[in-house]
């Protein structure tokens, strides 16, 4: 009994520690974004205000909303495409018999482990030749290829969890291969689709290096670069504005994640077959 209590207390303390470690920066960000002064330790000057938000939204030269719009479009398109391609590939890998299947999977995973910096030079040249610099496609294309491996691995693990007898059953019931995939297999992998989609979306939303090199101005620049560029514009560090912008750009992400995460539920395939 005593031991159980102790374990509970230790568990609580550990949880509290990890949670605060993760969440305090967010709290700090929120507080600063609503304060007149960014110096949180000089308590005298703390005063609640919306001025930071109003300032960044009103000043057209800051292009805050443009950055958020760019980020959402680029990340959204990248995520959708990456999941689409990965899903088809993963279905083929999990269902078809061909040699060196596992080696191919490993190779795909390995290709995503190169540091981004190793390809950026080539990528810049390529985009320049294609005349893509400072356009959406300059970022969308590398983001898709960079997030496909992780999406593919997620989807392969989901597909391999679905018993092959379900495909067979659908085929016998009168489906073509594509119908069987669309009507039976795909609905069962919804949690996988959503988690793969969210992960690629977040990757693209957070990505900094490609966005820094391949974009020039607000036409294609994304939020992470936008935030970093705040400093250069005004010489000093406008912490209040930076934090307000960060908080603002987080808002759509939080909304998207909460909307979709309820689809990431386990046990959707329960009851299909007798294990």
């Amino acid at each position: 009994m005593k031991e159980e209590k102790l374990i509970k207390i230790l568990f609580f303390i550990a949880t509290l520690f990890v949670l605060s470690f993760c969440l305090i920066p967010f709290l700090y960000m929120l507080i600063i974004s609503f304060c007149k002064s960014w110096d949180i330790f000089s308590l005298k000057e703390i005063e609640f205000t919306f001025s930071n938000y109003i300032k960044i939204l009103k000043d057209p030269s800051l292009h805050c909303l443009d950055y958020i719009k760019n980020s959402l479009i680029i990340s959204g398109i990248s995520a959708i495409f990456s999941v689409f391609v990965a899903t088809l590939g993963a279905y083929a890998i999990s269902r078809l018999d061909f040699p060196f299947k596992f080696s191919i999977l490993l190779f795909i995973l390995a290709s995503s482990m190169f540091p981004q910096i190793s390809v950026i030079g080539f990528l810049f040249k390529l985009m320049k030749i294609l005349n893509f610099i400072n356009t959406y496609q300059a970022l969308i294309l590398p983001y898709i290829s960079w997030s496909i491996p992780i999406s593919l691995w997620i989807m392969v693990s989901y597909f391999s969890k679905i018993p092959k007898d379900l495909d067979k059953s659908a085929l016998v019931d009168g489906c073509s291969w594509f119908q069987a995939f669309l009507k039976i297999i795909l609905p069962l992998t919804k949690p996988g689709l959503v988690s793969a989609g969210l992960l690629s979306f977040l990757f693209s939303f957070n990505e900094f290096l490609f966005a820094l090199i391949l974009t020039i101005d607000y036409h294609a620049r994304t939020v992470p670069v936008g935030i970093a560029m705040f400093q250069g514009l005004h010489g000093e560090l406008p912490w209040g504005s930076i934090m307000a912008f960060t908080a603002l750009s987080l808002l759509p992400v939080i909304i998207i994640v909460t909307l979709f995460q309820k689809h990431i539920m386990q046990g959707l395939t329960r009851g299909a077959i007798k294990e």
Binding site: S169, L171, C175, S176, G271, A272
Partner: protein, 372 residues
């Protein structure tokens, strides 16, 4: 609709080499017949069923449904499963977990784009037939094993297939349910008269269901016949041991021959080998078989009698399975008689004996079944 398989083969290639899952199979299945494919696991019976369903392409050979060529490698014909009008029930039921029972059963009709009212009528009809009308709104996860199996059968029957394929549909049910489900499947098939192919490894199931049975081993069909034929005239040692509730007693014995007749020796018992079986003698050896149910304790009259030693008794309720040692030979005896002691008098008759050719590496051939 009748079904013909001609020289059908399926070879799988893997890292370990090629595996002949189905090896030159020739079969003809009559219209409306309940046909059972029986064999130990890994003998290729499920692959054969998949070939008929169109889930696998044959490596060589042809499949005919009635007069229509359905699959042939040589003639480059392959009708996909959706156009074969077959239905299949899988061992693990393979219900669609994201659909309700109603939607599961309706699925084959929906794919055919039947109109909604008609689908509803058909589904309700088949649900009534299988007694699952009150489950229509449930999800597969909420059903018990027996109910899932009924749903799977309902889904298969709803579109009136011309061939009904069942791949070990009962092996996931518990023993009691299995017996009642077996009877239900049989009467359902009789009522509907659909050509049915049923795959199982359980010989009791095969014997009780099949109008005819094909026994398969290592991708080959060993024997085709009615349950009685297989029981009374097994073609070889494998079938003799595979068919029957308790495997047959088999003995490799020495043969003594004189001018007119030949005898097999079980210790000092001289068993007469009928003239028409004498061609089975090889190197002065022959295999003699007798079923445990054909051995009697304390017989009043029997062609052969011997005195054995009781080693072990298993009580099966009404009957007992008695292990008896007679010299170096051990017999299994199934008997209702309980009047025996350490010494036991056993008799059997000439007409109940089976004779087979002695095969050198018989252990491998009998899949680990032992011959003493």
């Amino acid at each position: 609709m009748n079904l013909r398989l001609i020289n059908l083969s399926k070879i799988f290639y893997s890292i370990r080499g090629k595996i002949k899952a189905v090896n030159n199979v020739n079969l003809e299945i009559q219209a409306g017949e309940f046909f059972v494919i029986l064999g130990p696991s890994g003998c290729g019976k499920s692959t054969l069923l998949n070939l008929i369903a169109g889930l696998e392409k044959p490596t060589s050979g042809e499949i005919y449904f009635g007069k229509n060529l359905i699959a042939s490698k040589e003639k480059n014909v392959f009708i996909p499963p959706k156009d074969r009008n077959i239905a299949m029930v899988f061992q693990n039921y393979a219900l669609y977990p994201h659909l309700s029972v109603f939607e599961n059963i309706a699925f084959p009709l929906k794919i055919q784009k039947m109109d909604k009212d008609k689908i509803k009528k058909e589904v309700e009809k088949v649900a009534e037939m299988l007694n699952i009308k009150d489950l229509l709104t449930a999800r597969p996860a909420e059903l018990s094993g027996g109910q899932k199996q009924r749903v799977a059968i309902a889904r298969a029957l709803v579109r009136k297939p011309s061939v009904f394929l069942l791949d070990e549909p009962l092996s996931n049910l518990d023993a009691q349910l299995r017996i009642s489900a077996r009877a239900e499947i049989k009467s359902l098939q009789k009522e509907l008269g659909i050509t049915t192919i049923y795959v199982t490894h359980d010989q009791v199931e095969a014997m009780s269901l099949g109008k005819r049975i094909a026994v398969m081993r290592d991708g080959k069909i060993e024997q085709v016949g009615t349950p009685e034929e297989l029981y009374k005239n097994p073609k070889n040692i494998f079938i003799a041991q595979f068919i029957g509730r308790i495997p047959m007693n088999l003995f490799v014995v020495d043969v003594v021959e004189d001018k007119n007749s030949a005898y097999g020796l079980i210790k000092d018992l001289k068993i007469k080998i009928p003239d028409e079986k004498r061609h089975l003698i090889k190197d002065k050896k022959i295999v003699i078989g007798i079923r445990p149910e054909d051995l009697f304790i304390n017989p009043e009259k029997a062609d052969y009698v011997f005195l054995g030693e009781t080693k072990l008794v298993e009580s099966w309720g009404r009957e007992k399975l008695i292990y008896v040692k007679f010299g170096e030979y051990s017999f299994k005896i199934l008997s209702k008689d309980e009047t025996f002691g350490k010494k036991i008098k056993i008799g059997f008759n000439q007409r109940n004996l089976y004779f087979f050719e002695n095969i050198e590496n018989r252990n491998q051939i009998c899949m680990g079944l032992t011959i003493s």
